[in-house]
């Protein structure tokens, strides 16, 4: 008979993000047939009683397990790739996956530097024999297309010059576009797309400040959930964006899409996160095994690595 603690431990080893490899070895490697049977009986999530007298595996759950085992592998590969290839592959995957993943495209287009985005566009040519904008435009038929294509095509000025007057008047243009009862949806509004997709980040951050001061609410607050809101967040308040996405990934009921953000954000933003000293609250409790060690290793301060060696 396996100890109840063994069953509990097995359940625990599979109940987070990633798997607790060490526990699995401890529980299963030395167990005999009898133990295994009681493990299976004690694990209704993975095994169900079959009419023919055996505990049958639930294949879809096993599939999900594969997912969990692969997180460490995928995170390792992601962090080894050249940033340009990494971003190009992330974008290609997002295009394939559809609307749920549009925010990934926004994230990459808006949080990378101009030259990093150019690099991703070059890598995309090499990897997929197409340009990002042609694949994006061909796959997306709905309202988001204009904004997304414009965002990935941008090569924003990165110097210090900002025209305060223009930032102010454009804050007003955005306010009107978002708060007027007129029919044009913000995503279809040509000035909204123009401002967000072509202006420099410093300009947009100045615009954000003006908006806040003038209308007593932030531009982000005035936007509904969706890529427009993600765009503004990524361009004007990227740290807040990344914290939000990481926290959402660690929520109890987070879906696979949200969880995917963990590896992506931690791998691509690890220097930023490390500098801030930001370690998401639930990461210790929710992540398991090598995956947890890897993620923590990426963002925790240098000391941890030295201790392990």
């Amino acid at each position: 008979m396996a100890l109840p603690s063994g069953i509990e431990a097995l359940d625990k080893a599979f109940s987070g993000i990633g798997v607790d490899e060490k526990s699995l070895i401890d529980i299963i490697a030395k167990s005999n047939d009898e133990h295994r049977t009681s493990l299976r009986k004690g694990c209704p999530k993975l095994f169900v009683e079959d009419d023919n007298g055996f505990e049958r595996s639930d294949q879809s759950c096993i599939e999900n397990l594969k997912h969990q085992f692969n997180r460490f592998r995928d995170a390792v590969v992601l962090s080894l790739l050249h940033p340009w290839e990494r971003d190009a592959r992330l974008i290609e995957e997002a295009i394939r996956k559809g609307p749920k993943s549009y925010s990934v495209i926004v994230e990459i287009a808006c949080t990378r530097s101009s030259n990093q985005l150019l690099g991703a566009r070059k890598a995309y040519h090499s990897l997929f024999d197409h340009s990002i904008e042609e694949d994006l435009a061909a796959h997306i038929k709905d309202g988001e297309r204009k904004l997304l294509v414009a965002l990935v095509s941008a090569y924003r000025y990165e110097g210090p010059n900002v025209k305060e007057a223009a930032a102010k008047s454009e804050a007003e243009i955005l306010y009107n576009a978002l708060n007027n009862a007129d029919e044009t949806k913000p995503l279809d509004h040509e000035d909204v797309v123009m401002i967000l997709a072509t202006r420099s980040k410093l300009h947009l951050q100045a615009l954000y400040q003006h908006y806040n001061k003038t209308y007593d609410k932030t531009l982000t607050q005035d936007l509904e959930e969706g890529i427009l809101k993600d765009t503004v967040e990524c361009l004007c308040t990227p740290e807040a964006y990344f914290h939000r996405v990481l926290d959402a990934a660690l929520e109890q009921d987070a879906d696979e899409e949200s969880k995917g953000a963990l590896s992506r954000v931690i791998v691509t933003q690890n220097e930023l996160l490390r500098k801030e000293g930001y370690v998401p609250n639930k990461i210790q409790d929710t992540l398991l095994g090598f995956y947890k060690d890897f993620m923590l290793g990426l963002i925790a301060s240098g000391d941890i690595q030295e201790n392990n060696s």
């Binding site: 150019l118 566009r121 070059k122 040519h125 024999d129 197409h130 340009s131 990002i132 904008e133 042609e134 435009a137 061909a138 297309r145 204009k146 294509v149 414009a150 095509s153 941008a154 090569y155 924003r156 000025y157 990165e158 110097g159 010059n161 040509e190 123009m194 997709a197 072509t198 202006r199 420099s200």
Partner: protein
């Protein structure tokens, strides 16, 4: 192929810089010497000369040229001396200004440069004007023109020769449907023209011609006065047969009452190091007279000499 003729033995940049300095000194200016040097050096060589001139005399060569020369000759020399990416950035910026505004020049630059060249223009634009090319183009255009021009200048087209014939077929049909409905600035038309690789676009247009009996530009001539349609047709021409586009610009510049010097200068200085050989062939084929003869008949003085030197007339 380029028509620019560079001597077999090129003097050191410091020698050239010194000679140019001499050309500026004294009462007059030695225009012939300026042409002999600058019209016979490639982009890398001209950049070296500019750098050396600045180090030796504490002044940008272009500034000296601006002070010493005038009118069309000056414009031709200054434009040609600029590094190609800087030159295009300059021309694009000029095109967004009110009195020199031109959607055509922006379209021409966006469509006839390679993907990498276009990106170099965008970089040069940042450096020189402290803003992005796309924000200026967006800011200075509206409606259909903005819809077409911003994606054109922002494109980073795939440059391979691979072509998907099934896609060419389906996109030719899309274009046909939109054109039949007179939806010339429809999202799908813009998408195909502004994002597909040049090879893919060419395949699509060939299929269009085969399947529907007319070249697409013929079908786009429905409304003779529609300025947007003219621009769209020109963009398509630039993307697929640029030498024919440039031949037409030259022909119209030369045949115009008086001459359109700005167009003439622009085409000669921007294509001398690229595909002027093909453009000349196209010109002769279409006009039964060589480009040299046409330019000589229509311009004069140092301006004429500069243009002729750039298109390869005469000795090195």
């Amino acid at each position: 192929m380029a028509t620019l003729k560079v001597p077999a033995h090129v003097p050191a940049p410091s020698e050239d810089a010194e000679q140019l300095r001499k050309a500026f000194e004294g009462w007059g200016t030695n225009e012939q010497l300026i042409i002999d040097i600058l019209a016979h050096r490639n982009a890398a060589q001209r950049n070296s000369i500019r750098k050396t001139y600045h180090e030796a005399y504490g002044k940008d060569l272009l500034k000296s040229l601006d002070e010493e020369l005038t009118s069309d000759f000056e414009r031709a020399v200054v434009l040609f001396t600029l590094d190609p990416a800087e030159r295009d950035a300059y021309l694009a910026n000029e095109s967004t200004k009110r009195f020199t505004s031109s959607n055509w020049v922006i379209m021409e630059i966006a469509c006839t440069r390679s993907s990498h060249e276009l990106f170099n223009v965008r970089k040069a634009y940042h450096a020189r004007y402290k803003k992005s090319l796309e924000e200026d183009v967006a800011h200075h255009t509206k409606g259909d023109y903005r819809k077409l021009l911003v994606p054109l200048v922002s494109a980073f087209r795939y440059e391979g020769e691979e072509v998907n014939l099934t896609l060419a077929k389906s996109e030719a049909k899309i274009l046909r449907d939109k054109i039949s409905d007179k939806q010339y600035s429809d999202e799908e038309v813009i998408r195909i023209v502004t994002t597909r690789s040049k090879a893919q676009l060419n395949a699509t247009l060939n299929h269009y011609n085969n399947a529907f009996g007319n070249a697409i530009n013929k079908d786009l001539k429905a409304d003779a006065d529609d300025e947007f349609l003219k621009l769209l047709r020109a963009a398509i021409k630039c993307l697929t047969v640029p030498e024919k586009y440039f031949e037409k610009v030259l022909r119209q510049a030369i045949n115009k009452m008086g001459t359109d010097e700005w167009a003439l200068t622009r085409v000669v200085t921007t294509r001398a190091e690229v595909d002027m050989v093909r453009i000349k062939e196209e010109y002769q084929r279409r006009n039964s007279v060589t480009l040299e003869k046409a330019i000589a008949g229509d311009t004069s003085g140092d301006y004429e000499k500069m243009l002729l030197a750039l298109i390869g007339a005469g000795e090195v």
